[in-house]
């Protein structure tokens, strides 16, 4: 058994080596980095997404006649390794731009690298606001709706709830902390009457869900904000269901409607949570239909949100490279700022002011259907509507 896998790995190396050597002048290369080995559950659909995009771009004639090639590297979930990979892509592979990353700290590390080495970087998935605001730089753009945008979309719904006593549960790191901070700030602006009665900060990936659920229940909130995800979310939901934490309480939850997080909950999916996510089964737009058909045809699987992000990252990169008609980073920046393009979610624009795309997210409620978790009553929220005013953004972002 072990030998077979070793063989497989050896083959993978050989194939990768061959791919690297097959270079040609008629190619444009994009260097792509993500946490494939650490977070396969999220990065596999993402990879499928960008693979589909590469196929489509090249089928449509490539970029101004040149073939698009994506060279993909694993960062093992470590910022330092991501930089090594970025360096290899830039120095050895001579890629035209960097793209990808999932974790916020890795996104920031690559963004800082890009700034230092003057390389164009399109951050795909990291959510941290810092990447476009407090630590933003001219070489970095970001596709996915940020932490702030997700919070703003949720607050809009949460503020309509009658609940006045709120508790929060969030993973104890920057993402969780800033998600809670933004949510609290926006929520308190809209509803000065609410009270924050408890906060729980389990360590990311290591939640001891029983005591956490018990502690939140003891504070007797009327509503709960959840920021945990992945395996932590599963444990939280299971304990919460068994202990009746969610009974009679509203729950607002970041990202839980994304299939990556919702699907593992299977028949234990809690109903009625207000979530951001991606109800691929419910989106009936031509843009999305086209994407969905192509994806299902190619992979015989349904897309996750990562698939959308991966797909759109490469689509956006191709659009940028085509418009710039150059690999010069300055020209790429100029081409990207203000660039609009279609996406499975409709038209999006890369803002000039903070390099954030206006890709939005779906907000809806969780429900159980045929023993599976789904999002219902979902509405697409455009990213552009959930960003602060330009004056505020200008204050948040350092001058280039």
């Amino acid at each position: 058994m072990r030998r077979r896998h070793l063989l497989g790995a050896g083959l993978a190396i050989a194939v990768a080596g061959m791919a690297g050597s097959a270079m040609a002048q008629s190619e444009i290369k994009i260097g792509e980095i993500n946490s494939y080995s650490l977070l396969p559950a999220f990065t596999e659909p993402y990879r499928k997404g960008w693979q589909l995009a590469v196929e489509e771009v090249n089928a449509a004639g490539g970029i101004n006649g040149k073939k698009l090639v994506v060279i993909s590297k694993d960062d093992g979930g470590k910022p330092a390794d991501a930089q090594t990979a970025a360096n290899e892509l830039v120095s050895s592979e001579n890629v035209a731009m960097l793209a990808g990353t999932f974790l916020s700290n890795i996104g920031l590390a690559v963004s800082d690298f890009a700034n230092q080495k003057k390389v164009f970087f399109l951050a795909a998935e990291p959510l941290t606001d810092a990447i476009t605001w407090s630590k933003g730089n001219r070489y970095t753009f970001r596709l996915r709706p940020s932490n702030y945008m997700q919070a703003a979309m949720l607050v809009e719904e949460a503020a309509k709830l009658p609940a006045k006593r709120w508790a929060t549960i969030a993973p104890n790191y920057e993402y969780g902390q800033s998600a809670v901070a933004v949510f609290k700030k926006l929520m308190s602006e809209k509803r000065p009457d609410i009270q924050w009665v408890d906060e729980q900060w389990p360590p990311q990936g290591k939640i001891d869900a029983g005591p956490v659920v018990q502690a939140v229940a003891a504070a007797n909130p009327e509503a709960i904000l959840n920021v945990t995800f992945g395996a932590d979310l599963v444990k939280l939901v299971r304990e919460g269901n068994t202990r009746g934490l969610f009974k009679g309480r509203s729950v607002v939850s970041f990202l839980t409607g994304e299939p990556e997080y919702l699907d593992p909950l299977k028949d234990e999916t809690p109903e009625g949570w207000i979530v951001t996510g991606y109800p691929w089964y419910d989106i009936k737009t031509p843009d999305h239909d086209k994407f969905l058909k192509a994806y299902q045809a190619k992979f015989n699987d349904y897309p996750r949100l990562g698939s959308i992000v991966g797909y759109q990252t490469i689509k956006a990169a191709a659009a940028i490279l085509a418009k710039a008609n150059s690999t010069d980073p300055e020209k790429l920046i100029a081409a990207t700022e203000g660039l609009s393009m279609p996406s499975p979610f409709g038209e999006i624009t890369f803002r000039k002011i903070d390099h954030q795309s206006t890709l939005g997210a779906y907000v809806g409620k969780t429900a159980l259907k045929d023993g599976k978790g789904v999002m219902v009553d979902s509405v697409y929220r455009k990213g552009a509507d959930y960003l602060p005013s330009d004056a505020e953004v200008a204050k948040l972002r350092p001058k280039d």
Partner: protein, 629 residues
Amino acid sequence: MAFYFAQFLTGLASAASLFLVASGLSIIFGVTRIVNFAHGAFYMLGAYVAFTLTERFSGALGFWGGIVVAALVVAVVGVLVEMVLLRRIYHAPELFQLLATFGLTLMVQDIVVLIWGPDDLLGRRAPGFRGAVDFFGQNIPSYDLFLIALSPVVLGVLWLLFQRTRWGVLVRAATQDRDMVAALGVNQKWLFTSVFALGVFLAALGGALQIPRDAVHHALDLRIIVEVFVVVVIGGLGSIIGAFVAAVLVSELNAFGILIFPKISIILVFLVMAVVLIVRPWGLFGKPEAAARRTPGLTVTPWRPLAAGERWASLGALILAAMLPLFAGNYALTVGSEIAIYVIFAASLHFLMSVGGLASFGHAAYFGLGAYGVAFLAKAAGLPMIVSLLLGPVLGLLGAAVFGFFAVQLSGVYFAMLTLAFAQIVWSIAFQWVSVTGGDNGILGVWPDKWASSPANFYWLSLGIAALVVAVLRVIVFSPFGFALRATRDSPLRSEAVGINGKRVQWTAFVISGTAAGIGGALFAYLKGSVFPDSLGISLSVDALVMVLLGGVETVSGAVIGAIVFKAANIWLVSQTDLSKLVLGGFIVLMVVAFPKGIVGRLEAIWNRRRSSEDKKSALATSRVEVAE
């Protein structure tokens, strides 16, 4: 009141799974002295196999049968691992088995994804234990009650096994004195194998029993392994009852701690361990370890400084390395710089581990402190690179001075675990103190000054500093201080009896080692242009251990080779394949089997065997002279 009772029960339920896994680890360690890093991997395998079985076979029998069969299946895997791999390396230097089990852990992480896929899996709920019991308005999951009842049962069964069976008596005897059991003519091989099987069974059972409450995924092992080590150490190595009490203690402290300090979980177990070890150096129920007897036949070849020829050869190798920029590109140079930095880091741990006999499991703390030192100086104080590079490691020095003071009061695995605790405490400060350290988003923009910014210049800088650090450490090894340090390692009794203040010598060595690590960290900050809590983290500490063990812990500078081989393989594999963990783990396992004394250790052994055959002739001559007298 009902709430507090419910919280107490919840804590007990958390303790149950921790106890099952910890008891297995403790038993294995007690008898075989193996620091079984793969214990978490067996836990995870237990959960995965149980998931498959319980999905396949329905009904209550399918579920409970599936749980038990899963644990048995994984125990069989454990037996195979013990027989095929570990048996070959029981006589390797202390902690070498850690390297093998670490390699296994890496492999298993990729293997489970290949077999079960990347998605989180939701296991079945236990039949008959789906709901909750109402206790004065508090809902207590009935499965929690089952777990709470189970752990004393397991404790009782283990107790009977150890007290009432011949096998148990042998296990207890072996825990106290391994050599004695060997002397009694007991078949030690099968005793070890059976103990390993039992330990793995308990780990896998602990994992299997989690499927109704947890998601099954490929990071389960890392989530539990460190915590389990901590529990075992708090309880006292080899003590089952200690593991039980410690599991309850940690879980209850967590359950009630989060009511007052919701952010405590991330650091709690390490705080508890640090306090326990400082107050009770052998854990709550542990006994002072008998002075570690060195395996006979080990390291009879004393160290010696390089001979003139070897010195020239080293210089030649250095010059060759310095010529890299003449033909290599920027990427290769940056990788070269990274390897040079890891050489510094590995050499610093090697100094502490092989010269001082103190294996630190938290050496990244000083590396990371050096890196953060630079980041603070360069970013906050805006100092130029030279100054930051010189002063940054001072933070590593200070950290080593403070933590080292406490750590050197202990020895062996307890020392290792206290260093781990300190490293985790530093890590969680860096992780949580967002306003100062930027939390996990780190400190960005720590780029080198212009003179050092080109990859070639930075490479020369790193190479030069690495060569300097390695050379200085070597000089110290053969200095009077180095001998005092080795004397303390070899025989605490004798060194005390010739006036050596062992603790002070070790403390000094700790500070030297921490400072050297800090120098590596300082360079690392400039290489990467940023600092993240990762550079203080467990995985970096483990990397350092792996590099030292791979090079050969009984050599003077084996870590240099260990670092070059490990880091180069690591960077190359991560770049070439998503299955880098599988390949790297396999590589490590192969190296362990092929080079049980490490790469350099093995080469030296071959070299010495050649020499000693020449020496023997002269030795014979000497003894003849004596007889003649």
